[in-house]
Symmetry: C2
Subunit: 195 residues, 2 copies
DNA sequence: GATGTACTGGTACGCTCGTACTAGTACATC
DNA sequence: GATGTACTAGTACGAGCGTACCAGTACATC
């Protein structure tokens, strides 16, 4: 049973329920990132996806189901990003400067920052979404744990969240030197010389 | 026909516009902390404050004006808290353990954490509110700058924000030992021994 | 005691929302 | 080519919203 998508780019117009459904979810995800979960409505999603209002209710039994699927899409992208972080970090043996560089590079892409923050915001508004939002934090701790002890990994992830919040609220992001300094300090082993 | 409120405690009922207005703002602030800025409506505020719907529109020309005043109330409380932090810190000469203790004590009061987070959430939803939300961050940096250099102060404030986010998303807050370790590491001067 | 006014309560309007419903339409299967 | 069905489009409905409006009511001032 070959699917035979053919040469048409997406061919979303007529009789392509899968593509249609996907377009709706992606439109919802984009709107959540841009305007937040609060402003998500069937009508806005429909307009963004270029489908009729009914299409958004036909494929999803409720707005909550639709938004959840959109958030899951965003969370999946986070997993992809985390895998990339793990790879880069592994290639450099957990060098603090490399980790700082990754974090700084992340901040340079506001769309990603905004997407991840949208998940956090959604989670605070709807506790059921917390596990989804924690994929980023827990995943980062796990990745970092390959190079430092669990406590340090958690501290680094906490700092990373702080950096993200900072980026959301300020016009200028933290510079690489400051991030490097903080990350290095957090990763530097507690010198037991005192006492 | 005398109304005879008699021994009413606050006498907010009749002819007390100032108290009435204040009750409305406080009700709005409480609702924002509990349910977020999004779910704030005239009717909910009225019910919470025990006044009629009209009272909320009589004292505030729009819902936005009302919410802004409520957020300002929350921000003012932050200033009070910051002053207390500054005092405690000054009394102990900027000891890392003391700072960690303050931060941990803060996390033990979920209502405060939630109130401050509400400001952050509001700011991401409505950029005009950013200056209000930054009172906490900027104020903390300023307080810390009395004891450490500006860069370290910023790093500590960033970490503090991360800790707050962590508390909002997790059931269990970070323990004092972990916070102390991180704060100590961030405050420890960069040993320039390595060239 | 009369009167102006600051305030209060109740109701109404126009809007957007989630969701349901009802016709259509095009494809798969025969 | 007939037919069943998967999908589409348009419209409708009840609810909650911000806000406006209006008739009262109690106090200050005289």
């Amino acid at each position: 049973m070959d699917v035979g998508a053919g040469s048409a780019p997406i061919e979303r117009s007529r009789r392509n329920p899968e593509g249609r459904r996907r377009a709706i979810v992606e439109a919802a995800a984009a709107l959540i990132v841009e305007d937040g979960l609060t402003d998500l409505t069937h009508r806005r999603v429909a307009a963004r996806a270029g489908v009729s209002l009914s299409a958004t209710t036909y494929y999803f039994s409720s707005l909550e189901e639709l938004s959840e699927e959109a958030l899951r899409l965003l969370a999946d992208r986070i997993d992809t990003e985390l895998a990339a972080v793990a790879e880069t970090l592994a290639a450099h043996g957990g060098d603090p400067a490399v980790l700082a560089g990754i974090l700084h590079g992340y901040l340079l892409e506001p769309m990603r920052v905004q997407a991840d923050t949208a998940l956090y915001l959604a989670a605070t508004q709807r506790p059921a979404l917390r596990p989804l939002a924690l994929r980023w934090f827990d995943g980062l701790v796990e990745v970092l744990s390959n190079h430092v002890d669990a406590g340090t990994a958690t501290a680094l992830a906490v700092y990373a969240d702080g950096v993200t919040v900072h980026a959301m609220l300020h016009d200028e992001i933290l510079d690489l030197a400051a991030i490097t300094r903080a990350v290095t300090a957090l990763m530097r082993p507690d010198d037991g010389s005192r006492r």
